[in-house]
């Protein structure tokens, strides 16, 4: 039997190899004629081989970070190497504003709460900004001035989950895509308490103990975290 070029990814080449095989034995004839039933069967075999070879080729490509084309696969391989890809980054602006009371007040400070929205327009497009954290300004002479407060484009969202302590591998999936991961804040409230405790993002597992207040962040499919 002649050497079979098994790396062929072309239908015609695969069929030619199958014909070469047929030629090397004498059980079957008329495979060379396109109208024959055997030629039809060779088409089916060649297509099956072609389909499998193509599928294998694509699947193996996705196993290596150099040749993977689907983001989910690249992220998965990068995770094994200890990397987490950057998320999208929300545009940032710094704005100053002044709050004037219309009448005399005894307030000593004004709090601009996290999630407060601002709307900007440019070239007939509307851009929505929010404050990512509380900002406090002192009231002086019935007015409060906020200088260079940071606002980020996007929407401020809060997701609440219930921890299932019996599930040791519980994940909390943020269903929104395109989250700026650097703005993710996690706080945990014990059942029955009103005080929430902030948890910090852990980049690695060094120095983490059972009492560490940390959370781990990974990108999963569809660019969700």
């Amino acid at each position: 039997m002649p050497y079979a070029q098994i790396s062929n990814l072309d239908f015609k080449d695969i069929k030619t190899v199958l014909k070469e095989y047929m030629r090397s034995q004498s059980d079957f004839t008329d495979y060379d004629f396109e109208g024959s039933v055997l030629s039809n069967l060779l088409d089916v075999l060649a297509y099956n081989t072609y389909y499998t070879a193509f599928n294998t080729n694509m699947a193996v490509n996705e196993l290596f970070i150099d040749s993977a084309t689907l983001r989910d696969n690249v992220v998965s391989i990068a995770r094994q190497l200890g990397y987490r890809p950057r998320s999208v980054t929300s545009p940032t602006a710094y704005v100053s504003l002044k709050v004037d009371y219309t009448s005399s007040t005894s307030d000593t400070e004004v709090i601009l709460k996290e999630g407060t929205g601002f709307v900007a327009s440019f070239n007939n497009r509307i851009y929505q900004f929010v404050t990512p954290s509380n900002v406090t300004a002192q009231v002086v002479n019935d007015s409060a001035t906020f200088n260079n407060i940071l606002v980020r484009e996007g929407t401020f969202l809060t997701n609440t989950y219930t921890v299932n302590t019996s599930n040791k591998t519980q994940r909390f999936i943020l269903d929104n895509r395109n989250i700026d991961a650097s703005t993710i804040k996690v706080s945990v409230t014990v059942d029955g308490s009103t005080i929430s405790e902030p948890y910090l993002l852990a980049d690695n597992i060094l120095d983490i103990t059972g009492d560490s207040k940390v959370f781990c962040l990974n990108e999963i499919d569809d660019q969700r975290d």
């Binding site: 239908f11 015609k12 059980d27 079957f28 004839t29 008329d30 004629f33 396109e34 109208g35 024959s36 039933v37 039809n40 088409d43 297509y47």
Partner: protein
């Protein structure tokens, strides 16, 4: 070979191949869209001698192009009102042999 499947050989294989070619529609075979004939399309044309002539030409062309084992001597196609189809006779000889000319007859009918 277990003989679970019977294989046809010689003249029978050629006749089977002829039928396969004529009843295969163009673009039906993978990666070989030109293979086949358009006789099945013609079955929905008027049942007259004009359509029969087109089928006759098509049969001769297809066999001349894709079945090098034969030489077509004659193709006769006649409309059959009773069967609502076309009677086709193909006369051919097998190339490279001194056999008597062969003949294959079949009826092309619309299937709904």
């Amino acid at each position: 070979m277990t003989d679970d499947l019977l294989s046809v050989k010689d003249k029978a294989a050629i006749k089977q191949s002829i039928m396969n070619l004529l009843l295969t529609q163009k673009r039906e075979r993978l990666y070989n869209p030109d293979l086949g004939s358009s006789v099945t399309d013609m079955l929905f044309e008027p049942l007259d001698y004009a359509s029969a002539a087109i089928i006759q030409t098509e049969v001769a062309n297809v066999l001349g192009q894709y079945e090098p084992r034969i030489r077509v001597l004659d193709v006769i196609c006649t409309p059959d009102i009773r069967l609502n189809g076309f009677n086709v006779e193909v006369h051919f000889e097998i190339t490279g042999r001194n056999d008597a000319p062969q003949q294959i007859n079949f009826v092309l009918e619309r299937t709904r």
